[in-house]
């Protein structure tokens, strides 16, 4: 499977995600933000980091970059797109995903390992996870407090477009297990066609038990399995 990782000035998780992809047998290419052509891709990853120094709003400038025009075209024609952390913020700014990512409720940059409950696995990114299972991934962000209008929230809930929610070790989804104030503990969302996933947690940091854990692997193997 061919993957492309988009690189902006200020991206800092691009090589981590590329390593994860390559180790899992993706044929990966790095694509610079100024490029105007996208290599043939089955999966496009917009990695974490601080694209363009988070100027104006996180992801706002990256969303207007050259290569994003191609990413938007590919996304609209059904290519799988995964936005992690700043990548999620960029997808929101392009309008490919709806809603907004606000400053964390406690005003702090939160960097820690958190628990996530798999709420929906009937999509190409999560099918190798068991529904309602709990996984442990890392988050590291300042603007991860997901917000959206009531009618869109209902659409997300009704159409199984929320794959993960923040939870505690027992799987309870409540305010104390919410690290950033995100609406209903939402940690990631899909578009209606389920080919675009935006998530704040970093699966690419959890692909090796020697340095963390391997809870992120299933996300990438889900994409690989038909």
């Amino acid at each position: 499977m061919n993957s492309s990782v988009i690189v902006f000035p200020g991206s800092n998780c691009d090589r981590d995600v590329a390593t994860a992809l390559i180790n899992l047998q993706f044929k990966n290419k790095m694509v610079w933000h100024k490029d105007s052509e996208l290599p043939k891709s089955d999966l496009i990853v917009i990695p974490g980091g601080f694209s363009y120094g988070d100027y104006l709003r996180s992801g706002a400038i990256a969303a207007k970059s050259n290569i994003l025009k191609e990413v938007i075209k590919a996304a609209k024609s059904g290519c799988l797109v995964l936005g992690i952390c700043n990548g999620f913020q960029i997808l929101i700014e392009t309008g490919l995903l709806q809603g907004a990512l606000l400053r964390n409720k406690n005003l702090k940059f939160v960097s820690k390992d958190i628990n996530l409950k798999i709420i929906n696995n009937d999509n190409k990114f999560c099918k190798n996870y068991k529904k309602n299972s709990i996984i442990n991934l890392n988050i590291a962000h300042n603007e991860g407090n997901y917000f959206t209008q009531k009618d869109h929230l209902k659409e997300l809930e009704d159409n199984n477009l929320i794959p993960f929610k923040y939870c505690d070790i027992e799987g309870s989804i409540n305010e104390s297990s919410n690290p950033n104030g995100s609406l209903n503990n939402i940690a990631g969302i899909l578009n209606n066609k389920k080919n675009i996933l935006g998530m704040m947690p970093h699966p690419e940091r959890m692909v090796n038990s020697l340095i963390s854990n391997s809870n992120g692997i299933e996300l990438f193997t889900s994409i690989l399995s038909k």
Partner: protein, 79 residues
């Protein structure tokens, strides 16, 4: 022609930075403070002499890039 754009979070959107500034001012003894919201101020100089056209250009900038219309609102002022 110079314009100022003032961007603030919509009323329904929590403004944690504004809240902290508000609480600090309260703790400094400014008791008459009722409410405080923090925003952004952008100054723009345009090569355009027609005010109406200039205003439309600024409006376009706001909608396309400067403002996130889901959570923010804006005011344009000629300066």
């Amino acid at each position: 022609m110079k314009f100022a754009v003032i961007i603030t979070l919509k009323k329904d959107v929590l403004d944690p930075q504004g809240k902290v500034v508000e609480q600090t001012l309260h703790s400094m003894g400014i008791n008459s403070l009722k409410n405080l919201r923090q925003g952004k101020y952008i100054e723009i100089d345009l090569n355009e002499s027609d005010e109406k056209i200039a205003h439309n250009i600024i409006e376009e900038m706001c909608k396309k890039l400067l403002v996130n219309l889901i959570i923010e609102e804006y005011k344009i002022r000629k300066i």
